[in-house]
């Protein structure tokens, strides 16, 4: 008889007041006992809708059936048939709009905690199984992957499992892309990312760091001189956007990418780090996405007394995951909704001292269906602060496009691909993730990496 409790087993977490001051992981993970209990809530549907909701199509009921009977390693094996980064996805996927969003248990109560179970299984494996995965038999074909973020790692993992000789080229000094420079330690410990990458290396994937494709080597050279038969471009989102309002280049104004890179990749939060960061007292984060939440919560942990999120629409339109918004609120981040910055003011030393904002109201829905915000006349006010973090998205990086003749991009600069295969305008060149879609989620990038891996396999076996 399944567990008919209408609620998920709650995720044990650090207390909000405590965690708001440290960089340790917020969610602590299920125990084996809780995992068994939660797995019992799965009805093992004949037609599992959850699988349809998963961008990489994990056999969710099958792995949960194994958790139910305590066969955690077998559950892990089932997950890794479809996902190369289970410990990462269990933590950062927006399950509420994917697998869990489709779960029938969600109709009358809460869905099965699929993400939490996935995380449990992956953590169990990483803690208990030290044996390296078996290296597949080589098939003699070489594939280059540009970028070691979620799409690149997934593509590399899937191809390596099929016996391809895969090299991943990474511009930074550490592999992981947004998983290491963007998503903070308290949401995704870097040791977990490193472990997932070690697993890929054990499968035979080679990782060449400090290589900027488009500068150090071009896509064409990879194919014509270095002997790669296919290339997957997963180079990520690119250049941070700014609002183009006065004062954006004052000292103390960061893009979220810069702020998070200093904190995460360069470990500026640690005492004695060689990379400087401003330990601001009052921080204004502009934007409402997951990255804005990450920046706000990081600022709090660096010792800020007050952190504001300034977002021009209302709570309903806030694009960040509900869970992230709740976590931020619990930790004390203050949301200034329906507010928009119009100017950043500086002091006599060129440091930020305030943001001038206006109040907004929601007007008619625009083409995207979202109600567009309109300024309320004479509603200006000042928000005193000593740091501003702009988190309003990115525009594609021109490096690869400008050095790859014939690579078609769209009006926004995203690489044009055939959706079903990830194929670009060039033969043998595939792309996926934020480089194609613009800023999206880890799991969508992984889905694109997976699609491309399958297409590359078919292309090289045609």
């Amino acid at each position: 008889m399944p567990n008919m409790s209408p609620k998920k087993n709650p995720m044990p977490s650090q207390d909000a007041k405590v965690r708001a001051r440290n960089f340790e992981e917020v969610a602590l993970g299920y125990t084996a006992q809780t995992a068994l209990d939660e797995a019992d809530r799965c009805l093992n549907c004949k037609k599992p809708l959850c699988v349809e909701g998963c961008p990489v199509g994990i056999s969710i009921p099958s792995f949960i059936q194994k958790v139910k009977v305590g066969e955690f390693e077998e559950a892990y094996r089932i997950i890794t048939e479809s996902s190369s980064l289970p410990a990462v996805c269990g933590r950062v996927c927006p399950q509420e709009s994917q697998c869990e969003g489709k779960c029938v248990r969600g109709i009358k109560g809460e869905p099965v905690g699929i993400g939490r179970l996935e995380r449990f299984v992956a953590d169990y494996h990483n803690a208990n199984n030290t044996a390296a995965p078996q290296k597949p038999i080589a098939n003699g074909h070489r594939v280059a992957v540009v970028g070691s973020g979620p799409s690149g790692l997934t593509c590399a993992g899937d191809l390596a499992k099929k016996g391809y000789d895969v090299t991943v080229f990474e511009a930074l000094h550490t592999a992981g892309g947004v998983l290491v420079y963007g998503i903070p330690e308290f949401r995704l410990p870097k040791a977990i990312v490193a472990k997932e990458i070690e697993t890929l290396k054990a499968l035979g994937v080679k990782i060449a760091v400090n290589t900027v494709v488009g500068k150090t080597v071009s896509v064409e050279e990879l194919m014509k001189e270095e002997g790669f038969e296919a290339v997957f471009i997963g180079s990520g989102a690119g250049l941070p956007r700014f609002m183009n309002i006065p004062g954006e280049n004052l000292k103390g104004v960061y893009s979220a990418n810069e702020f998070l890179t200093r904190v995460n990749l360069m470990k500026a939060y640690r005492d004695g780090s060689t990379t400087p960061i401003q330990h601001a007292k009052r921080v204004v984060v502009v934007g409402g996405g997951n990255v804005a939440m990450d920046a706000a919560r990081s600022a709090l942990r660096l010792g800020a007394e007050k952190v504001y999120i300034v977002y021009r629409r209302s709570l309903e339109e806030l694009p960040a995951r509900r869970e992230e918004v709740e976590h931020a609120m619990e930790e004390g981040v203050e949301f200034k909704l329906l507010n928009n910055p119009v100017e950043i003011l500086g002091d006599e030393n060129g440091f930020v001292c305030a943001v001038k904002c206006v109040c907004m109201q929601l007007g008619e829905p625009d083409a995207s269906g979202r109600r567009s915000p309109v300024e309320v006349p004479d509603s200006e006010f000042l928000l005193a602060c000593d740091s501003v973090i702009m988190s309003i998205g990115t525009s594609p990086n021109p490096l690869i496009k400008s050095t790859t003749a014939g690579l078609e991009v769209n009006r926004r600069g995203g690489i044009v691909v055939t959706e079903e295969t990830g194929k670009t305008s060039l033969d043998g060149v595939y792309a996926g993730g934020d480089a194609v879609t613009g800023a999206a989620t880890v799991i969508l990038a992984m889905g694109a990496g997976k699609t491309a891996a399958k297409a590359i396999d078919e292309y090289l076996n045609r």
Binding site: K215, T216, L250
Partner: protein
């Protein structure tokens, strides 16, 4: 790992290193830069490429000891390895089609001015180099410049090397004496470049300035290196590092470069104390 092939002290605070980095050497061009880290926990610092040898696979960097990382780098010896070395980043200097140029370098900026002068000189452009240092002790690359310039003007603040005065004095003199330049290229401290650009604007001579702002990734991802050029925000790492000097907002660039001064000073002192302890 990137081996240090050669280390040479150019003056008390400026050091030259040749680094084994064939992939970077293969693609390097004057005006571009690299980013390095000395060790696994190190800071990423950008340094402009001072020279390269495609056959030997080496890239030359010249750095001034200003902070903790350059101090640490200066304590490394030939045979040791840098943890990371990535490049070439940024856009190369555009040298095509110029018949006569003035290259104006100041201090350690001359390290970057040199490969630019050399490239122009090798392609047959008439190169007038003006190099400025505080005093004769700080002079670097004198022979190299002499070999890569049609005309070489030496300036120092105290008159101990060449003429006494600023590089802008020398440049004004040359222009007023009737020299006509297709372009002026200036590389050095921000205030120097600001005044070179002010001068050339007066005479309507196209001027390119090489910017070296605070930077992290060097690929356009962080935007930390942004500056205002002609009213638009530009990223030095992907749009530069060279920009039209008449359009750069130098005052803003000068302000931004001081963002971490107190931190840098403290970190440098801490590193020096650490090395002093080791010596004892």
């Amino acid at each position: 790992m990137y081996r240090i092939l050669e280390k040479r002290k150019l003056n008390p605070t400026v050091t030259l290193m040749k680094i084994d980095a064939p992939a970077v050497a293969k693609k390097a061009n004057p005006g571009q830069f690299i980013i390095l880290r000395t060790d696994a926990d190190g800071e990423r610092i950008p340094l402009t490429i001072a020279d390269y040898d495609r056959t030997a696979g080496s890239v030359t960097i010249i750095f001034q000891i200003v902070g903790a990382t350059t101090e640490q780098l200066n304590h490394m010896e030939a045979g040791e390895c840098l943890h990371d070395f990535v490049g070439p980043l940024g856009r190369a200097t555009e040298t095509d089609g110029k018949k006569k140029v003035a290259v104006v370098g100041g201090g350690v900026g001359c390290a970057i001015a040199y490969p630019v002068a050399k490239k122009f000189f090798e392609q047959g452009t008439e190169v007038h180099t003006i190099a400025g240092f505080r005093n004769s002790e700080l002079v670097i690359l004198e022979d190299e410049f002499a070999a890569a310039s049609t005309r070489f003007v030496k300036m120092s603040d105290d008159g101990s090397w060449g003429e006494k005065g600023l590089v802008t004095d020398a440049l004004r003199k040359l222009i007023e004496s009737g020299e006509q330049y297709d372009e002026v290229i200036t590389i050095g401290p921000l205030p120097m470049m600001k005044f070179v650009c002010k001068l050339t604007k007066e005479f309507g001579i196209k001027t390119v300035a090489s910017m070296n702002p605070i930077m992290i990734d060097g690929t356009g991802m962080c935007g930390g290196c942004r500056l205002t050029v002609g009213g638009e925000t530009k990223f030095a790492c992907v749009d530069g590092p060279e920009f039209d000097g008449h359009l750069i907002d130098f005052d803003e660039a000068i302000a931004r470069s001081s963002m971490y001064k107190p931190f840098e000073r403290a970190a440098h002192e801490a590193t020096c104390n650490l090395f002093a302890k080791e010596v004892k």
